[in-house]
């Protein structure tokens, strides 16, 4: 997708005028993921105690311009085999059938259907999460902090693992491993056009 180099500053100016507010100086479309500065981590509760984990491999196709959040979009695909669930034992366990069953469902994904500005640097993305063959509509709140040519997208939300049959059978007893899992994401993305240094 190519855009006329003039269109983005022009739109930003237009938006700034119509909003009557000062906008980030670098209003621009952030769309190139900086994987080294991005992460998807999660906290589950085992016997009431938080245990941290993360996904080492994922891809996030982001398109977001703070000047026109409504046309932003995101598609995130997580390679579930890259999970670190907190311990070697847990890593062996969670790829198996009762949990993610990665042989049949190797990826989990999120695809946005719309983005809404909530004021300040806060936004929310609506969309669909798909895990283990089950999908659910979700609303993900996030903040955007632009700096220079890049912006940091930060957010967290809670999902219920049993809605996706993650941790079936003996593990469905939520007094041992809680149903709620806190998912935290941080994406750093840069503008797609060659950086215009000031």
């Amino acid at each position: 997708m190519r855009t006329c180099p003039l269109s983005i500053p022009a739109l930003a100016l237009l938006a700034a005028m119509s909003a009557g507010l000062s906008l980030p100086a670098h209003a621009a479309e952030y769309s190139v993921l900086d994987t080294a500065q991005s992460s998807i981590s999660f906290t589950s509760k085992q016997m009431g105690v938080g245990v941290d984990g993360r996904f080492r491999k994922f891809n996030a196709a982001l398109n977001f311009d703070p000047a026109k959040p409504g046309s932003g979009s995101a598609r995130i695909d997580i390679d579930l085999s890259s999970i670190d669930a907190g311990s070697p034992d847990a890593n062996d366990e969670v790829v198996g059938k009762p949990w993610f069953d990665i042989r049949n469902f190797p990826t989990a994904s999120f695809a946005s259907t719309g983005v809404k500005a909530l004021g300040g640097d806060r936004y929310e993305a609506r969309g669909k999460i798909s895990i283990k063959g089950k999908s659910q509509e979700v609303v993900l709140p996030f903040t955007v902090k632009p700096s220079g040519d890049s912006a940091v997208f930060d957010g967290s939300f809670v999902i219920k693992r049993l809605d996706f049959a993650v941790g079936d059978g003996i593990w469905s007893d939520v007094s041992t491993v809680a149903n709620e899992v806190l998912i935290k994401f941080r994406f750093t993305a840069t503008t797609s056009r060659p950086a215009v240094k000031k």
């Binding site: 085992q46 016997m47 009431g48 105690v49 938080g50 245990v51 941290d52 907190g86 311990s87 034992d89 847990a90 062996d92 366990e93 003996i170 593990w171 007893d173 041992t176 491993v177």
Partner: protein
């Protein structure tokens, strides 16, 4: 408690006796639980047992700390007259090491848990701070330390029990009876 002699007591305080047997039972149960739970395949039951082990282990630590204070403020009865010098040294050394291990084993368990990234929350209510950051190599090392200290404890306890039985059956000097009052009454 009445100590008839002004200088040295003739028996252990009731508190010392209660703590001795309560902790002996707890520690032996903990030892069995530790061996059993580590052999299990990952399951909710395993996670529960690990938590119980950690909760009970922290309880042992709290009791041990109290017991140490009690011991330092309450003189135990002296060794029986005529007990060979080497046996006195061995008995004192064993007792000191047992106290040390009752403190060191729970500490090593707590630090191991921190290094493995599993915080200890006593009875699911009181979170103990994680003094160590998550570090797999360190966690594995501390697991080895916990194991080694437990092996030391098991060895010492076996020697300790053997000595107690020998005092009772061979020397017949009342050493076991002063820790087990019901034996006293039968004399």
């Amino acid at each position: 408690m009445s100590h008839t002699q002004p200088g040295l007591p003739t028996h252990y305080t009731r508190t010392a006796i209660l703590l001795h047997w309560l902790m002996a039972l707890m520690i032996i149960a903990m030892f069995g639980l530790g061996l059993y739970m580590t052999g299990l395949k990952l399951s909710p039951q395993k996670l529960q047992l690990y938590s119980w082990h950690k909760w009970a282990g922290v309880s042992v630590f709290v009791l041990a700390a109290f017991r140490l204070v009690w011991r330092l403020t309450h003189t135990p009865p002296p060794h029986p007259a005529g007990m060979p010098r080497w046996q006195q040294i061995a008995a004192n050394g064993t007792h000191h090491l047992l106290y040390l291990l009752m403190i060191a084993i729970p500490l090593s368990g707590w630090l191991m848990s921190s290094a493995k990234g599993f915080q200890t929350v006593w009875f699911g209510v009181l979170p103990l701070p994680d003094l160590l950051a998550k570090d797999k190599a360190l966690g594995d090392l501390l697991q080895g330390v916990h194991q080694a200290l437990n092996l030391g404890l098991a060895t010492l306890v076996l020697a300790h029990i053997a000595a107690a039985i020998k005092h009772h059956l061979v020397e017949r000097d009342g050493v076991l009876a002063r820790m087990l009052p019901f034996l006293q009454d039968k004399r």
